[in-house]
Amino acid sequence: MGDTLLPQVIINGVTLGTNYVLMALGFTMIFGVLRIVNFAHGEFYMLGAFFVLTAIVKFQVSYFLAVVIAVISIGLLGFLAEEVIFRKFRDKELEGMIVALGLSILMQNLGLVAWGPYDLSIPPVFSGVLKIGSMFYPVERLMVVLLSFLLMAGFYLFLKKTKLGLAIQAIAQDTEIARVQGMRINRLYPLAFAIGTGLAAAAGSVIGPLFQLNPWMGIMPQVKAFIVVILGGIGSVPGAFLGGLILGVAESFVSTYASKAMADMLGFIIVIGILLFRPSGLFGHSHMTR
């Protein structure tokens, strides 16, 4: 028994961790580029899952097509949100954040109007159980991890290899210099926001089949994204990646060997510990304290 429990715990932790990473990546990039603490990030995640559900149930499309539709349409929504709502609050961190809070309230309750308060679920996409040695693993979960890693790899390549990705990194490092280099901020800001929210939607639509869908489903992933981002340093992409995996695995360990309640508290305790000893995050070099 003892030797099958440990790998199971690790795999569960990685599954959990990939969820957190996907959420945190978009969130941290939006902060890095636009300096907006996107309190509505969880709501874009929620919309992602619901768009997939609606596309499958109402329009009878396949799951993969539904995911593509959801990510693209929510990316567009994010683009519009930046163009219309956040544009006025550039360089105003606090106001931008409060506006994001307003957007979060708005989206959550529009979601409530559109889909109602009851739990819904996406019809199962994959079935079956994979048996490796003496260990069982549901194919559904494996696909979530696989798709998540694909998305992460795609995002990484996008940042490192494409012109747009490099431009986004440049802006995150120094907006003024990027502007001097001839980068069109007015075009790049909404694009970065669109990519960030698109990632949140991707997270929601990939993980959606595993969970119940309701208008408040985005809150917890967002809380986790906050923790991951504080853990990894806000604005740091590798920080979000490692932070997410560490949090996921740690939570899995604690909930197996201690209790679920302890696992819920764990993230916050880590955050407080980090604040005490490493105020700029584990991997961050951003200036958390003056």
Partner: protein, 326 residues
Amino acid sequence: MIPQGKTYAILALSIFLFFIPILWPDEFYLNVIISTYLQIILAVSLNMIIKTGKLSIAHAAFMGIGGYTSALAVMRLGLPYLLALPLSGLMGACIAILVGRLLLKLQGVYFVLVTFAFGEVIRLFFVNLVEPFGGPTGIINIPPPKITVFPGTTFTILSKVSYYYLVLLVMLITLFLIQRIYQSSIGKAMDCTRETEHLAEFTGINTFQQKMFAFAAGGFFAGLAGSLFAHYYRYISPESFTFWESVNLIVINVVGGMGGITGPILGSIFLVPLPEFLRGFVEYQRVLYGLILILTLWFMPAGMLGVLNKILDWMKARKPRKEAST
């Protein structure tokens, strides 16, 4: 310095508030007014923290700390309410001082994110500890406040009217104290801390101390409000003190205007009764709430107070100069 005329007007208004239950003894409206008063205590005490340049999303957590302290003090320890009320405020202040040492060193959005995390820790504490906090179901059957004025004469504050007076009294004292702080040199130092922190330090202001003071005092008044809340509704659960309650307080401050105590008062008077008038559109209430928040920041960044001031200025400009100078 408040001009004399304005002082009298505020005094008259405060006295008028004491007559509301006599002039208008409708239970439903009294309930709305009591919730508004509670929200005013919370929003104005949050305003004091905002005044030092810190946006806290943990304010509802301090309210929760006060609520649980008060309920447990009365129900488990058998303390009289007149002791439990200040105790809940002190508990809020003590915890604010403890965590403030850590949190208030953080800058800008980090502070916001971490107060958010702190608020969640407190809520999870209440959820996970069934003993003594009652876990997710919270604490029920909280007794109404019993107030002993002289030994032998004990009032039980059970009716809406008597509760109205209790809340009104605490609110007026809170507003009076916070206004006095704002007008004192501490208030000026807080303004300076928010606007130009470096300069404030050069002029000898200990900005960290200013923030600690505001945070602790904010925790104190939020604790008081929590106690009043617990004994009024006679039931508390972790769901009463979520992140969204804290967000509501920020919305009230933004929509009312963050400059002084008038803004959050206006914001509470406008936003707290709003759902009561939108009973027919329950689903759209919160949608409207989010919309109001975004539109306020967009079109009137100084809030309702800013608009009011503009109207007053405009009216003054129309009058002859002689009157305007008085």
